[in-house]
Amino acid sequence: MSLIIDKIFAHSTKLVAISVLFLVAWIFTVLFQHSMESMQALGFDFVTETKWAPNLEKFGALPAIYGSIVSTFLAMILAVPLAIGVAIFLSELAPAKLKSPVGVSIELLAAIPSVIYGMWGLFYFVPIIRDTFGGIGISMLTAGIVLSIMILPFMAAVTRDAMNTTPDILKESAYALGGTKWDVIKDIVIPYAKAGIIGSFILALGRAIGETMAVTFVMGNVHKISLDLTAPATSIPVTLANEFTEADTDLYYSSLFELSLLLLVISFTIISIAKFYFLRRTRVA
């Protein structure tokens, strides 16, 4: 009897697992099908062309790709050192009394829906950026900062967890050789937790590059490549969020699908790299 139950259980879980795979394939297929028209009409120009003018039937994705990459890059530059700092503080330096309240608030921050970061960014960061750096405040820089604030708690929490896995006995061994707290953090804790830390960065990167709601309000949806960070810009998800309802021609519609396909491929690549790191970590441990 129990054998039969086992079998049913095994088969039904297998079914669920397969349907997940099927879902992924399905999404890919749908995006691909809808992108066909734009792919055939525009070819490779789609990703190299800088002009996006739907009324002229010009669809160049480069500004959106550029905006996605630059805003994510800015976010990472700002968030990585802070996340490492917070994680070091929480796992190695903070007195026991501070560890859990600060740790819990970081986890709470990580749970805030991104649209709230977006609204907060619009009402508080846009004026600050405008007053400090000039411009209209709606800009690449603002998007980078809001994104960095959004991914910081997640990165800090996961980095802290990775650091906490360093065995005490390993740290004690370094102290026993005359190491200072800083020596132990730099030579033992960080190298030991390296794979986990890098994994968390890559996951955060994946989240930042696909993030929509946090940046839609503050980026501007302007399809222009500008080296001036205080100028408004756009990213792939921002374009999608702003323009799907406006797509009035088939080619316009299809090129938006091609943009989303592009985003999906980028995100998948990033997650695969992250997985590779996490896998390596579990093998070492």
Binding site: A176, L177, T180, D187, I188
Partner: protein, 261 residues
């Protein structure tokens, strides 16, 4: 009162009226303990689980200071000074009094860098000096032959016994005067264990050694002096040869004959 043999040779360490209380404990884990440690010899610490061997050992290099709230009382004399004062330079103390742990603790770096680590902490950068001292330490730890062709490899690729000898090499590379071993072979197979035992005996020419062990045969094989601890007190300290044959205290006798523990 404890029975403590008269140590005629020079002393490496001297514990006087030592008490230790963990931050989370109401009572001291070690009570009014007096114990001399002879220089260039091996002192084994034995006793039932929880009697305070590790606690005493970790006081010699002030390891307890890594965790807040632990309290010391009394004195531990090392080179004519009490190392339990707040003035004590812990970095310097730990360079002079090294420690080997219950499990091998290879750092996440290469074999070479593991052994060079303590020297690098001291700011030694000279390549030839580092190379020479790493080689010497690995030779002294009887592992040079096995690792000389893969010094750049990750230390975690070594076997448990090799890693433990690597940890010993790492500890002696900074030329300490005292080495503390806390059950260094409890995670090793018999062959690795006897390798470590031979090594410990060889090392006493240069350093004074305190070794905690659960294995009474091991204490008998390697040590010159044996201290028997019970419930946070030192019951008896004697010459190893005499103590295992004619213990002076009843408790010691009961323990070594396996009546409890």
């Amino acid at each position: 009162m404890a029975t403590i043999v008269d140590i005629t040779e020079e002393k490496a360490l001297e514990v006087k009226n030592f008490e230790f209380t963990y931050a989370s404990a109401d009572e001291p884990s070690i009570k009014k303990l007096n114990m001399p440690i002879a220089k260039n010899s091996i002192t084994a610490l034995i006793g039932p689980s929880g009697c305070g061997k590790t606690t005493l050992l970790r006081a010699f290099n002030r390891m307890h200071d890594l965790y807040p709230g632990n309290e010391y009382a009394g004195e531990i004399l090392f080179k004519n000074r009490n190392i339990l004062t707040s003035k004590e330079d812990l970095i310097n103390l730990r360079i002079q009094i090294g420690m080997i742990f219950q499990k091998p603790t290879a750092f996440p770096m290469s074999i070479f860098d593991n052994v060079a680590y303590g020297m690098k902490l001291q700011g030694i950068k000279n390549k030839t000096e580092l190379n020479d001292r790493v080689e010497k330490a690995l030779c002294d730890a009887a592992i040079w032959k096995e690792v000389k062709d893969r010094l750049k490899h990750d230390a975690n690729g070594l076997s448990g016994g090799q890693q433990q000898r690597l940890c010993i090499a790492r500890a002696i590379a900074v030329e300490p005067e005292v080495l503390l071993f806390d059950e260094p072979t409890s995670a090793l197979d018999p062959i690795s264990t006897s390798g470590i035992e031979e090594l410990v005996i060889e090392l006493k020419k240069k350093v004074s050694i305190i070794i905690v062990t659960h294995n009474m045969q091991q204490a008998a094989r390697v040590s010159d002096y044996t201290g028997f601890m019970y419930l946070g007190e030192l019951i008896e300290l004697g010459y190893t040869e005499e103590m295992f044959v004619t213990p002076k205290e009843k408790l010691t006798e009961e323990y070594i004959t396996g009546k409890f523990g």
